[in-house]
């Protein structure tokens, strides 16, 4: 795609894209840090993640401002318009990812550490790793303008949903075994749910990025493997 005749238009668009990339990197870092803090009961790290959410919020406001200014100044059309609207929506999803990571970090003092059974911490770590891979593999093709790389990305959200269902059942078992586990297990359940929600936001980002790059919507139906809505104790 050639550049605009007005080069400052390109610079404005590039700036917004760079903000999204930065937000994506920050989001990935927050998710990784929050999980590490949870599993290692690392409270200083957890506090840092909580404070990083303020940076994430500020970045989202910057994207909002830049996008609104660009629309007012340049009246973008076609792929430029899609890029600006897409950036607004992607920034909103990334901001939510930051919130969810912060929420995991806030639970570290009550739920974290050695009390987590091995198999469970393994599942949480795997969920977190999958989510991280997803975040990185949505931001990279978005900034590289590679729509093909985005089309099959949301399929891998299915794996996260399957893991979440496993963690959900496992936590239910622990709570039934010993009611004293209930408090910690509930916190861990929220942490797992947060990771699962982050996966959903990444899927949203992939869909928005695909539309931004191609002008086509991905088909509405996508695999769904979170069965906890039907689960019984």
């Amino acid at each position: 795609m050639g550049g605009h005749i007005v080069t400052s238009f390109d610079q404005d668009l590039d700036r917004i894209e760079k903000m999204i990339r930065d937000m994506g990197e920050l989001g990935a870092e927050m998710v990784a840090g929050a999980t590490r803090a949870l599993l290692a009961s690392d409270e200083p790290l957890a506090q840092r993640i909580v404070s990083e959410d303020a940076i994430m919020d500020a970045r989202q406001r910057e994207v909002d401002d830049a996008a609104i200014t660009l629309i007012a100044k340049r009246q973008p059309m076609a792929q430029d318009l899609r890029a600006v609207i897409g950036a607004l929506r992607i920034a909103a999803d990334l901001e939510r990812i930051g919130d969810l990571a912060k929420n995991i970090a806030k639970r570290v003092p009550t739920a974290g550490g050695s009390s987590i059974p091995k198999s469970l911490s393994g599942s949480l770590q795997t969920m977190s790793d999958l989510v991280l891979v997803q975040i990185r593999s949505v931001i990279a093709p978005y900034t590289a303008h590679d729509a093909e790389g985005l089309a099959d990305l949301r399929d891998s959200d299915e794996k996260i949903d399957v893991l979440y269902t496993t963690v959900f059942r496992e936590l239910l078992t622990y709570m039934m075994e010993d009611p004293r586990n209930i408090s910690a297990c509930t916190h861990l359940l929220f942490c797992a749910k947060n990771l699962e929600r982050i996966g959903d936001h990444v899927t949203n980002i992939a869909e928005n990025a695909y539309y931004t790059l191609t002008g086509q919507q991905l088909p509405a139906s996508r695999p769904k493997a979170d069965e906890t809505a039907m689960a019984q104790a």
Binding site: M1, G2, G3, H4, I5, V6, F9, Q75, P76, M77, A78, Q79, D80, L81, R82, T214, G215, Q216
Partner: protein, 287 residues
């Protein structure tokens, strides 16, 4: 025999092998729309003497909708617009091929057998620069009726008021209908020209950059007027303002070097155009 093959290839590429006539165009209609048609451009080519300015244009014009023609200067959009009222006939050496079929009468208006004056009664045109006649406001509108042969004074007075109201000008001029049209502001003059066009009840309204000489307020008034007129007329507008085309048109055609590159609904052209050249043009990129 290599020479014979060469000749055949040259022949296949030549215009004789594949004339862009009405019959060949009728077979392959690339641009179709679900709306009722007011006019249908079929395989239209046009030459200014030896220079081919339009090449095999296929374009449906929907009834009671605005169709915008966009493209860089020299792409042929004004040339195409002027075919609709046979303005090119004023100069010798100009030549049409193909058809512009006016519906529902199913009449090819670029057919030499049809009197261009009759075509112009059906297709009223408004130009970039307001061009009122050096007459009174009333006479400017009435003259359009007089060329139709209408002499009844009461009828003319009624129709003048009616179209001045349609052109959203009546309240501003009703007390000074006998004043010179030149006393009006640029935007008012342009609305007067539109009123003059409406008077003989045209079937098609052709607007050639109607707001490019006007300020934003006068432009907004004209756009408001176009929006009210599209409930009654088929409108074709040539505009250099992409935003204007996006605001008022239902369909949009992008032209480049005498060809129609892409035709589509407003939504498609301005959010997800299919052709790279359309995309480059409407987003302001290099071709």
């Amino acid at each position: 025999m290599p020479e014979a093959i060469m000749n055949q290839q040259t022949y296949r590429k030549s215009e004789f092998a594949n004339p862009a006539g009405p019959d060949s165009a009728a077979f392959s209609r690339p641009n179709t729309i679900p709306d009722e048609l007011r006019a249908d451009v079929r395989g239209l080519s046009f030459w200014y003497n030896d220079f081919q300015a339009l090449n095999n244009i296929n374009l449906p014009i929907a009834e009671k909708k605005v169709t915008a023609l966009i493209g860089a200067s020299g792409c042929g959009k004004s040339t195409l617009l002027r075919c609709f009222n046979r303005m090119h006939d004023l100069y010798p050496g100009n030549r049409y091929e193909g058809e512009i079929v006016l519906m529902p009468e199913n009449q090819n208006i670029v057919d030499k057998a049809i009197d261009p004056i009759r075509v112009r009664l059906k297709a009223g045109m408004v130009f970039q620069k307001p061009n009122p006649f050096p007459k009174s406001i009333f006479e400017n509108v009435a003259s359009g009726l007089r060329v139709r042969g209408i002499r009844d004074k009461a009828l003319i007075a009624n129709r003048v008021e009616e179209v001045l109201r349609q052109a959203a000008l009546w309240d501003e001029v009703k007390d000074r209908l006998d004043h010179s049209a030149y006393a009006l502001s640029g935007g008012q003059q342009q609305r007067l020209c539109i009123a003059r066009t409406l008077a003989p009840e045209p079937e098609l309204i052709l607007l050639d950059e109607p707001t490019s000489a006007l300020d934003p307020i006068a432009t907004a008034r004209i756009e408001e007027l176009i929006e009210s007129l599209r409930d009654h007329y088929a409108i074709v507008i040539v505009t250099h303002s992409m935003q204007q085309a996006a605001r008022i048109s239902a369909y949009c055609a992008f032209m480049h070097l005498g060809e129609l590159v892409e035709f589509g609904s407003n939504e498609t052209i301005f959010t997800s155009p299919k052709e790279k050249r359309t995309q480059d043009y409407i987003t302001g990129r290099f071709g």
